[in-house]
Symmetry: C2
Subunit: 125 residues, 2 copies
DNA sequence: GCATCTGTTCTATGAGTTGTAGAACAGACC
DNA sequence: GGTCTGTTCTACAACTCATAGAACAGATGC
């Protein structure tokens, strides 16, 4: 699993780790039961502190995407989470509004959504 | 113009103000040339400090959505901004991946995008 | 048993962000 | 002249971010 983070980005490192894992799950590169590297190992690989990796993993666990045990480490396991849909739709509205406000056409924006979703499908197929 | 912010939210107040203005522009409730309330006035209306409003307005100005002068105050005026598209598409990918990772179907996600975009169109019409 | 790796938890520190606050200046308006 | 405006400056408490060190306990392999 390739997981590249930009240490110079304004986006927090733990957030980048979180986002890359989510994208890998969406693309099917990570499926239920797949193991992630240990917090200490990934921290060494990325050249960061293991507490930072721990924070990203913990966030994924709270979101119901990761199961973490002392025995098996971090394993992808998706469980239903309440209240996700409403929060997600609110963020979608804000993001799409940003594109429209900046002058993009509705059809153009929908095309970007379609292309992005198709990319996930294709990697999975 | 109604602008409601949640002071108890974990989302920063200035970010909420920014997002609501962007959504209003996308929905056509705010068009080019429309004036926003002064920083001090909006701060009083929302019961917050005017520096916080100033931060939100300044962010909108840097994004090319607002023109701020001592004379006319804050006025909606959209100008082209470089580098917006790439950043936006990266954020779109992350947001859509989150939905797919949580088990939503691709068609379902695209449907949400379509519905949200249509809502903007309808308010504008 | 022993060493090692793992997740977990605690404290701590420095840098940066967030929101509030007060003050001051200058242009615009009546 | 008085008032409203945006702008800029400093300042503060609270919080976040990332790093750091230490310690504990379960699991694994020899």
């Amino acid at each position: 699993m390739i997981l590249d983070v930009d240490l110079t980005s304004e986006v927090p490192i733990y957030q980048q780790i979180h986002d890359r894992v989510v994208e890998a799950i969406a693309a099917g590169e990570l499926a239920d039961g797949d193991a992630l590297p240990s917090t200490r190992q990934l921290a060494v690989d990325l050249g960061i502190n293991f507490h930072t990796v721990n924070k990203a993993y913990d966030q994924l666990r709270r979101e119901g995407l990761l199961l973490i045990t002392r025995k098996s480490g971090a394993v992808v396991q998706r469980v239903s989470t309440a209240g996700f849909a409403a929060d997600w739709q609110a963020r979608l509205k804000t993001l799409l509004a940003e594109a429209i406000a900046h002058g993009l056409d509705e059809r153009e924006v929908l095309g970007h959504c379609e292309t992005t979703l198709r990319a996930f499908e294709e990697v999975r197929a």
